[in-house]
């Protein structure tokens, strides 16, 4: 079969401060009809840029500076706007990351669905509406007959993502670009979307470029995988080949991330006093309860992972512990003593003992302060150290988080990378010399390699300093690698609680089971097996609804 898409030596530049800097440095790409290619890389690798360039499109402030993008014999780089318009939507379609933002809020979903076929003269409106409903049915959307006649904001995120896939299919294109279509979704929803995308791409034998940063996802979707790093190709191979025998060091390191696993510590003795004890906490925002009778303990030197999807009450629990949200009922004990519910009523020493590390290092560090000032403040505030002594302590802390003190002391947060910023956040927490640290999704905004570094650092610090962690996360891979105990939350309630090994061996609470089984694995057959196991009707949304 001939090549559908042939990209040769593609070079793309982006404008910053009135000068053009290269983003993509000469990438080649070939795609046969009906084939799915996975584009994978960390943020800033240029995946999306290549995906859009494959449609002959560049965003504002970006330009193609060289090379060719040949789609079915037509070079999209030099083609006129009219020729490109004729192909887009009709023979090449696009599925964006955020369906909620990519659907026009002013029009009904079906009207946006029929727009491309009608405008390109592929089908009449009435046939296209029928076809749309048929596609919704194939994509297993609930109420396929009427869902299209709603406005986008009336439909949930996972369903919108499928509706967008249906819209991309409306003209039966030869090629679809999927740009991180499931990144914004929860794991249990993601499964459903992945399955329906794969089915429909198979059924119509559509070629696709699937862009993602998640290796396990791409393993399910792609026939071939291409790994990118900062605008360069690292390597490309068939999916199974790539997973089992990566050639380049960079690829190997990506694959290895998932293997980091700290041995689980033995459970604390039954008579030990827990460092932090959450007792029957019920909390509310306004008049609606968001936490219902939550209880668990965190023992010295242990890591408790609190797991759940968005809205499950993980972060609210943290706010109760820190005293930002005084609970309506129940109490928080620290070393066996009841803590005042409101942080303003706690003593300086009580505040010092419990520290917090935030998800977004960008908003957690004051951009107008140097690293030295940021870490130095708690050193002075709690420890009363000044001048040279304070400086010495900050250097010590910088050493602990593996940043060269002389180099970073006077820098501002904006001059640091995401991982370095997160390390500074850790150092600020350590500067208080705490017993207990809450880590709120500390790795979810980071690339996998960097995230792994942070996890290793936290594990080392725990061993050295005897810290206790409460690890809030939605990522089960993180749980596997660092937790001693796991608390699973759903809708403000603890649904399961126990040592990690118990959690990862059946039997589970049905929700835990769903959560665990929904996390994609690197095995390319995982999705197929899972679908077979669950049966067609017991997927994602449907399964959640049943509980």
């Amino acid at each position: 079969m001939s090549d559908l898409l042939k990209i040769r030596d593609l070079r793309i530049e982006g404008r910053s401060d009135e000068t053009w800097t290269p983003i993509i440095n000469g990438v080649d790409l070939d795609l046969k009809r009906g084939e799915v290619l996975g584009l994978i890389g960390e943020s800033g690798a240029g995946k999306s840029t290549i995906g859009l360039a494959a449609m002959g499109y560049t965003r504002d402030g970006v330009r193609i500076s060289g090379g060719s993008v040949e789609f079915d014999g037509i070079d999209l780089v030099t083609a006129s706007a009219r020729v490109k318009r004729d192909l887009l939507g009709k023979r090449i379609a696009y599925v964006a990351q955020s369906a909620a933002a990519s659907f026009n809020p002013a029009h009904k979903i079906i009207d946006q669905h029929t727009e491309a076929p009608v405008q390109h003269g592929v089908a009449k409106r009435s046939t296209s509406v029928e076809d749309g409903i048929e596609l919704y049915r194939k994509l297993r959307l609930p109420n396929p007959d009427e869902i299209g006649f709603r406005y986008p904001h009336q439909v949930s995120g996972g369903q919108l993502q499928r509706a967008m896939t249906a819209m991309a299919m409306s003209c039966r294109p030869d090629l679809i670009i999927f740009d991180e279509p499931t990144t914004a979704l929860d794991v249990t929803t993601q499964i459903e979307v992945l399955a329906s995308i794969r089915n429909i791409v198979d059924e119509f034998d559509t070629a696709a470029i699937y862009i993602t940063h998640d290796l396990a996802v791409v393993a399910q979707m792609a026939d071939r995988i291409k790994v990118l790093l900062r605008g360069d190709e690292v390597e490309e191979a068939e999916t199974r080949e790539m997973l089992s025998h990566p050639k380049e060091d960079y690829t190997k390191s990506l694959w290895a991330v998932r293997e980091f696993q700290r041995p689980e510590k033995p459970p604390a003795p039954a008579d030990a006093v827990p460092v932090v004890s959450v007792r029957n906490v019920t909390a509310a925002y306004g008049s609606t309860d968001v936490l219902h009778n939550v209880s668990f303990d965190i023992h010295a030197g242990r890591t408790v992972a609190v797991v759940g999807e968005s809205g499950s009450g993980k972060s609210t629990t943290a706010r109760c512990i820190t005293g930002l949200l005084p609970p309506r009922q129940g109490e928080i004990l620290f070393d066996g003593e009841v803590l005042p519910a409101d942080y303003r009523k706690r003593t300086k020493d009580q505040l010092r003992q419990a520290q917090m590390i935030y998800q977004m290092a960008d908003t957690a560090l004051n951009p107008r302060k140097t690293i030295g000032e940021i870490i130095g403040r708690p050193v002075r505030f709690y420890g009363g150290l000044r001048g040279a002594k304070r400086r010495e302590r900050v250097h010590e802390l910088l050493d602990q988080i593996e940043l060269e003190p002389a180099q970073y002391y006077h820098r501002y947060p904006s001059e640091l990378s995401g991982g370095q910023k997160q390390r500074v956040g850790i150092a600020r927490a350590l500067a208080a010399d705490p017993k207990f640290i809450i880590c709120d999704e500390v790795t979810s905004a980071l690339d996998q390699l960097v995230a792994e570094g942070i996890l290793r650092l936290l594990a080392d610090l725990q061993d050295k300093l005897g810290l206790s962690y409460m690890f809030i996360t939605h990522d089960l891979a993180t749980v596997k690698s660092i937790a001693d105990e796991v608390v699973v939350m759903k809708d403000g309630r603890v649904v399961e609680h126990g040592p990690k090994t118990d959690m990862f061996t059946p039997p589970h609470h049905p929700y835990t089971d769903l959560l665990l089984s929904s996390v994609p694995e690197m095995d390319p057959d995982w999705l197929t097996d899972l679908l077979a196991e669950r049966g067609v009707d017991n997927l994602g949304d449907a399964a959640v609804d049943k509980m």
Binding site: R85, L88, G89, N104, A116
Partner: protein
């Protein structure tokens, strides 16, 4: 639909409350005058008898709250009280019937509304068209020139614009008259011609504001992912604009227009003075100079009411045009 109705009623109620409080503020501000109106009217040399007479005439011997309620009732029934200046004038002429503030303001208000309407008719289409154009062709020479021009005209005082226009369109090329002496019963075309220079001055200022705001709103909109999606569907640029950008641009543009019409209220004062246009702004400034309190009070309330009303309109229209509110879940 009920939720949107509720929001609108809420806003309306809020607007009314604001207006009510504003009326209190204005009334209290005026009562900060030292002594009282009677002395202010008659000046220093007045005899105690005549002061007492006027005080009784105007009800100034009543307590503050009673006077406020009286004034408020007057405002609601369009009985705006009696102008001091007219009262003095009437007294000097031998006590013949006095002219009420309402009679004085009514023709002036209609003149001002005429001027505002002419301005809006020119400014709104021009500004929206140019604003959209600047957004579509942003960062081109056209956009940069427009930016330079609008920034300059926003920054300039209204009277600068007014005199530049007088210089070129009245003195050097006598196309329009520089004095807008409008009177009742004037033919529409003549009236239009005489109001042209003040209207053009206001147009220049308001257009610049409106154009910049429209441009910003449209650029903001064009950056949204659903516009990119529409382009990636291979739709023609025209269709992207008309079908995808415009329905969503309506709310911000309506907002921009209403805000700028509200801005006109302030601009109208200076411009009317420059062109001696017999509108409410001119009356206001004259009354301020001779301290004709009832007129100042009434004008102030009218300006504030118009301002609040326009802002309220903007608010409500943008609520109505929001699909999320129009089609609740």
């Amino acid at each position: 639909m009920s939720s949107i109705l509720k929001i609108i009623l809420q806003r309306l109620g809020l607007g009314l409350i604001t207006l009510f409080i504003v009326s209190i503020v204005i009334f209290v501000a005026v009562n900060l005058l030292p002594g009282d109106f009677a002395e202010a009217i008659l000046g220093q040399g007045a005899t105690p008898e005549s002061v007492a007479q006027i005080r009784r005439d105007l009800g100034l011997d009543q307590p503050l709250v009673a006077r406020y309620l009286d004034w408020l009732r007057g405002m609601l029934t369009l009985d705006l009280g009696t102008s001091f200046a007219q009262l003095n004038f009437a007294k000097a002429m031998g006590g013949a019937g006095s002219v009420t503030v309402a009679e004085q303001i009514a023709p002036r208000l209609s003149n001002t509304l005429f001027l505002a309407a002419v301005t809006a008719c020119i400014a709104v289409p021009v500004a929206v068209f140019l604003g959209v154009l600047a957004a579509l062709y942003r960062n081109t020479a056209f956009d940069k020139a427009a930016n330079l021009f609008t920034l300059s005209s926003i920054s300039s005082p209204e009277f600068f614009m007014a005199y530049v226009l007088i210089l070129f369109l009245a003195v050097l090329n006598p196309v329009f008259p520089s004095l807008s002496n409008i009177y009742e019963g004037m033919a529409f075309s003549e009236r239009l011609q005489k109001s042209m220079l003040p209207a053009l001055t206001l147009t220049l200022v308001v257009t610049a504001h409106m154009m910049r705001m429209t441009r910003a709103a449209i650029i903001n909109l064009l950056a949204s992912p659903y516009i990119e999606m529409a382009r990636l569907k291979g739709l023609s640029p025209m269709r992207v604009i008309v079908k995808h950008a415009l329905p969503n641009a309506l709310a911000p543009i309506i907002n921009v227009i209403a805000l700028n019409l509200a801005y006109l209220i302030t601009g109208v004062v200076v411009v009317e003075v420059v062109f001696v246009y017999p509108g409410i702004g001119q009356l206001f400034v004259d009354s301020v100079k001779i301290r004709d309190i009832p007129v100042v009070q009434a004008c102030c309330l009218i300006f504030a009411a118009a301002y609040i009303l326009l802002n309220l309109t903007a608010d409500i229209l943008s609520i109505i045009s929001n699909p999320r509110l129009r089609h609740p879940k």
